[in-house]
Each structure stands twice: as structure tokens, then as C-alpha cells.
């Protein structure tokens, strides 16, 4: 029993994400107003993205942008090739320093894969929201209301 309590306390984050998802799902099912349903859909989508991104978190890791790298190496090599003669010894020493510094440990950076997938999900989510709102505008034009029970009554007549 004690380790079950221990297990629950370490998973508390995931449980709060599930509570958010269920709030969104409940709004999509049981609210009457169409705009509230759309807000529920958006809450559901962002809660799922939160769940997904939290899988890629690592302890004591930094953001997935490599630091102290980039164009420094190519610029440095170009400058050293220009001053070839006198800097021969200096070149060898700094190259050794470069290769020692070049080792990138995978445990130092957050997992970039969930970030990439959720970037796509956010943009597709806003496109879907736009289409849903266009449909809501058309429904309001046709029936004069955006409450679901009144629309159902008008359709039945």
C-alpha cells in the first residue's frame, strides 16, 4: 500500500493533465452552446499537447538548442587556414580543444521529437478551429441561434 501511495505521488502531474482533458471532453459532450463546445475542443487539444510534451522532459537537461556551437568552428578554421605558417602549432592545439569540446551528450538536452510533433498539432488545431467557426457562422445565418437544443427543435419541424 505504501508504494502505491508513493507511485501516485510521483504521477500527480499526469493526473492533473488527465483532469484537464476530461474537462474539455465533458464540455464537448454536454454543453448546449456551440461556442462553448469549441472552447472545450480547444482545451482538450492543448491538454493533449501538454501531456505529450511532458514526456520529453529530462532531469537536469536544458532546452534543445545546442550551445557554443554553430558557425564558430567554420569561421575559426577559415582564419587559421589564412595564417598557416606561424599558427601551425596553435592550430593543432586548438583543434584538439575543439574535438574535446565537440562531444554532445544526449542526456544534456531535452528530447526534441515531441516538440516537433506538437508544433504541427498546434497549427493544425488553429486551422480546424477556423473551419469550425465558419460552420458556426453559417448555422447562425440559417437558424438564427447557436444553442443546440433550439437548433434541434427547428430541424425537427
Amino acid at each position: 500500500m505504501a508504494e502505491l501511495i508513493e507511485l501516485m505521488m510521483t504521477r500527480l502531474n499526469y493526473w492533473i493533465y488527465i483532469v484537464l482533458m476530461m474537462i474539455g471532453l465533458y464540455a464537448m459532450i454536454s454543453k448546449n452552446n456551440l461556442m462553448k463546445k469549441l472552447i472545450g475542443m480547444s482545451i482538450f487539444q492543448t491538454a493533449i499537447m501538454l501531456f505529450y510534451v511532458s514526456i520529453g522532459v529530462k532531469n537536469n537537461a536544458t532546452i534543445p538548442i545546442l550551445e557554443h556551437h554553430g558557425h564558430d568552428e567554420t569561421g575559426g578554421h577559415g582564419a587559421e587556414a589564412a595564417t598557416h605558417g606561424a599558427a601551425e602549432v596553435g592550430h593543432a592545439v586548438s583543434e584538439a580543444a575543439h574535438t574535446a569540446k565537440d562531444v554532445i551528450l544526449a542526456a544534456d538536452y531535452d528530447n526534441p521529437l515531441p516538440h516537433v510533433l506538437m508544433l504541427t498539432a498546434i497549427v493544425v488545431g488553429v486551422a480546424t478551429l477556423g473551419v469550425a467557426m465558419a460552420v458556426v457562422l453559417k448555422i447562425h445565418d440559417r437558424y438564427g441561434t447557436i444553442e443546440e437544443n433550439e437548433i434541434l427543435e427547428k430541424v425537427k419541424l
Binding site: 448546449n32 537537461a61 508544433l119 498546434i122
Partner: protein
């Protein structure tokens, strides 16, 4: 990953989600949804997902809220639910 900060933002997230679905004035619901998007962006920036936080700040708190307000302007503002 400071867990106190995390827990505080998560509690605020749940509160804003519930309040945004409970108010009857749709314009207030859209604005509180904008607050929800901003809190989500903060949470992702604190988790280390900076690209996702940037996109959510631009798209969720910027464009999504504006689309909702544009739609609410053209349909009714009060909801009966």
C-alpha cells in the same frame, strides 16, 4: 523544473478552464480562454519546450482568441447555458 511553480500554474490552468466554460457572457469566455493559452505557454517554457511555447503564444493567445471574438461579434454574445 521547479515543482512548486509547476503545481501553481497547473492549478491556475484547471481553474481558468472551468471558469471559461461556466460564464454566460461569451466575450468573457473568449478572454479567459486567452488567459488559459498564456498559462499553457508559460508551462511549456518552464518545461524547456521553447519552440512550442513561442508557437502557442503567437497562435493560441493571439490568433485563436481573435478568431473567437470575431465569430462572437457576428453571432450572439449571451449564451443560455
Amino acid at each position: 523544473m521547479i515543482w512548486q511553480f509547476d503545481l501553481l500554474i497547473l492549478i491556475l490552468l484547471v481553474l481558468t478552464a472551468i471558469v471559461s466554460l461556466k460564464v454566460r457572457d461569451l466575450l468573457s469566455a473568449a478572454m479567459i480562454f486567452g488567459v488559459y493559452s498564456f498559462l499553457m505557454c508559460l508551462l511549456w517554457a518552464e518545461m524547456g519546450a521553447v519552440d512550442v511555447a513561442f508557437t502557442e503564444a503567437a497562435v493560441g493567445a493571439g490568433l485563436s482568441t481573435v478568431f473567437m471574438i470575431a465569430t462572437i461579434h457576428r453571432t450572439t454574445r449571451r449564451s443560455r447555458d
